[in-house]
Symmetry: C2
Subunit: 340 residues, 2 copies
């Protein structure tokens, strides 16, 4: 088959690769209904993270099971499934504790920007629907696999409460999903830091109550004004840069919580500053598997439309243009149609 391979920074190709096959008895092979490009795919694309040789890209996926290994018990060919970008057995103590992203058998999904993909730990990782969803549900189902699950985790980790105040730092795809999540969890006020008109529009659709365009100290000052000098009890840090983390710290009230889901790049913390700042913090790769059944139910019930975050849809053969559009910020997030 043809699939997406990154040969180096800026060099993404749709080219001939070997068909995926069952390598372990716990694997499944799925035929993708759609796939997409993640903000984290831009790190190697921009040469900001190391890469050893050509890499099969893609970790967000949904589709139909076509084959399962001999030890797969719950997942069956013909089922429509969604899985997390982190593969987990869903039976180890860390999975039981709701942190499937630290599963003792954890692997990171790869090779999903393709018509077919191998999913290890299929029983633990995949969640099946009762019926095959309609075509218009596909973007929303696909979004649950990573971007929505990650935004949801940011809201969960930052302990968004019914009626509480949440600040979302970052208006990328994950930040927008954080807005949606905080709103779904009943936050009375959802303040999003955003400078892009198109993203502000989507944030408002997803339930943002206030937009703050300023950044840095000005942005912190605006949010402190909006919260009567108190700050927010929940802050969703959805970027991972030093400036964004500084903003998150600056707007979080003492005893409030920062959920940080952007992989930190060039961020460090001084112990005494952290101590006297007195913010509760929880970050990490999102345990999407914990939330997946609930998120899929919300999508299928028509309660949420996370797939609106895909503002560019391309045939997978044009994946290189999808990367380019996101790199140049012409697109928030690119969905790739998989036709044969």
């Amino acid at each position: 088959m043809y699939a997406t391979v990154m040969h180096g920074p800026g060099d993404v190709r749709y080219e001939q690769v070997e068909d995926p096959k069952i390598l372990k008895p716990t694997d499944a092979i799925i035929k993708l209904a759609a796939t997409c490009i993640c903000g984290s795919d831009l790190w190697p694309y921009r040469g900001l993270s190391d890469q050893d040789g050509p890499a099969h890209m893609g970790h967000e996926y949904c589709g139909t099971v076509v084959e399962v290994g001999s030890e797969v018990r719950n997942i069956k060919p013909g089922q429509f499934v969604v899985g997390s970008f982190i593969l987990s057995d869903n039976t180890c103590p860390h999975c039981d504790f709701g942190f499937q992203s630290s599963c003792v058998q954890r692997e990171f999904m790869t090779g999903a920007q393709a018509p077919y993909a191998r999913v290890p730990l299929a029983d633990g990782t995949l969640v099946a629907t009762n019926e095959i969803p309609d075509a218009d549900m596909i973007p929303h189902m696909l979004a649950t696999s990573d971007v929505l699950g990650t935004g949801w985790y940011a809201a969960d980790a930052s302990q968004v409460r019914e009626g509480g105040t949440a600040v979302v730092v970052g208006d990328g795809a994950v930040g927008l999903m954080g807005v949606l999540a905080a709103s779904q969890m009943g936050a009375g006020r959802v303040i999003v830091m955003s400078r892009h008109k198109d993203r502000q529009k989507l944030a408002l659709e997803y339930g943002a109550t206030d937009i703050v365009e300023e950044r840095g100290e000005d942005g912190i000052g605006r949010i402190m004004d909006l919260t009567n000098g108190v700050g927010a009890e929940s802050v969703l840090e959805c970027v991972g840069m030093e400036e964004s983390m500084h903003q998150a710290m600056g707007v979080c009230r003492p005893g409030g919580t920062i959920g940080y889901v952007g992989v930190p790049h060039g961020v460090s913390f001084d112990g005494q500053q952290l101590f006297f700042g007195q913010k509760r913090m929880l970050g990490g790769p999102a345990p999407v598997r914990r939330f997946l059944p609930d998120l899929m139910d919300r999508v299928l019930a028509g309660k949420i439309e996370p797939g609106k975050v895909f503002d560019l849809v391309l045939p997978i053969a044009e994946v290189a243009e999808g990367y380019k559009a996101m790199d140049e910020r012409r697109a928030i997030k690119t969905m790739l149609r998989v036709e044969e």
Copy 2:
């Protein structure tokens, strides 16, 4: 009166000072029933924190109110009171949120290693008993003012649960109070890292179920063995050094929580390590005022005896020896008797 003044590292004197008096209408003057020396007093004693000239020492206190300012409404002369080492109005939004240690009017108590002391923000800070406690209650009441309140906060911040597993890093006075707190909160297992026989004994009295003498990687390994390779869901970091924080990180399970109450000295965190470690963290100066009524009730009901942590009792005139004994680790914590 005579009171405790630190003139510089290693130089503590009990000498003539001015009597404390009402400086603001929200002040109270108390006659101390007893006072004590804090582990944090050893930082300037050892020359490890800056000091501008002679300092009136002491921030742990209980005693009888002798005078109040004109705006003090709830606290009255003759009442027996305990207050936190952090002075707070208990009415601002941060106090309402349970983080009185970040009160907008926050001040740090000082001058309590003396027969009389001035307590600013008396209405917000002081908690009165219904009756004057018996003399044998005084050490336990005194302990609630800081050392127990701080250990309690470590347990609260680390989300100790009924039946859960807690690890206490540090067997100083605060660590021992952390053991007591975790045990009172119903932890099924309380593992304490301790190398000192006398402290181990007290830890066991306070509810520790396991003692780990090893430190560093060996200590982490022992605790991972004790928890079947999983780690603890609650870790109380009661030291504040790089090695102790490293141990806390090493024994906390993914998604578990570290409550850190030792003021960090020379500790910093790398963003990616913190992210991928996926520990929830909350530290800071303890909001003792939040817990004080409950802790005082537990003491008066005879449920807890935190005052056992005072293993050296001296007349306040011998305060210099009290510092020396703690500095040389001959005493866990020194109580000072205040006679006239």
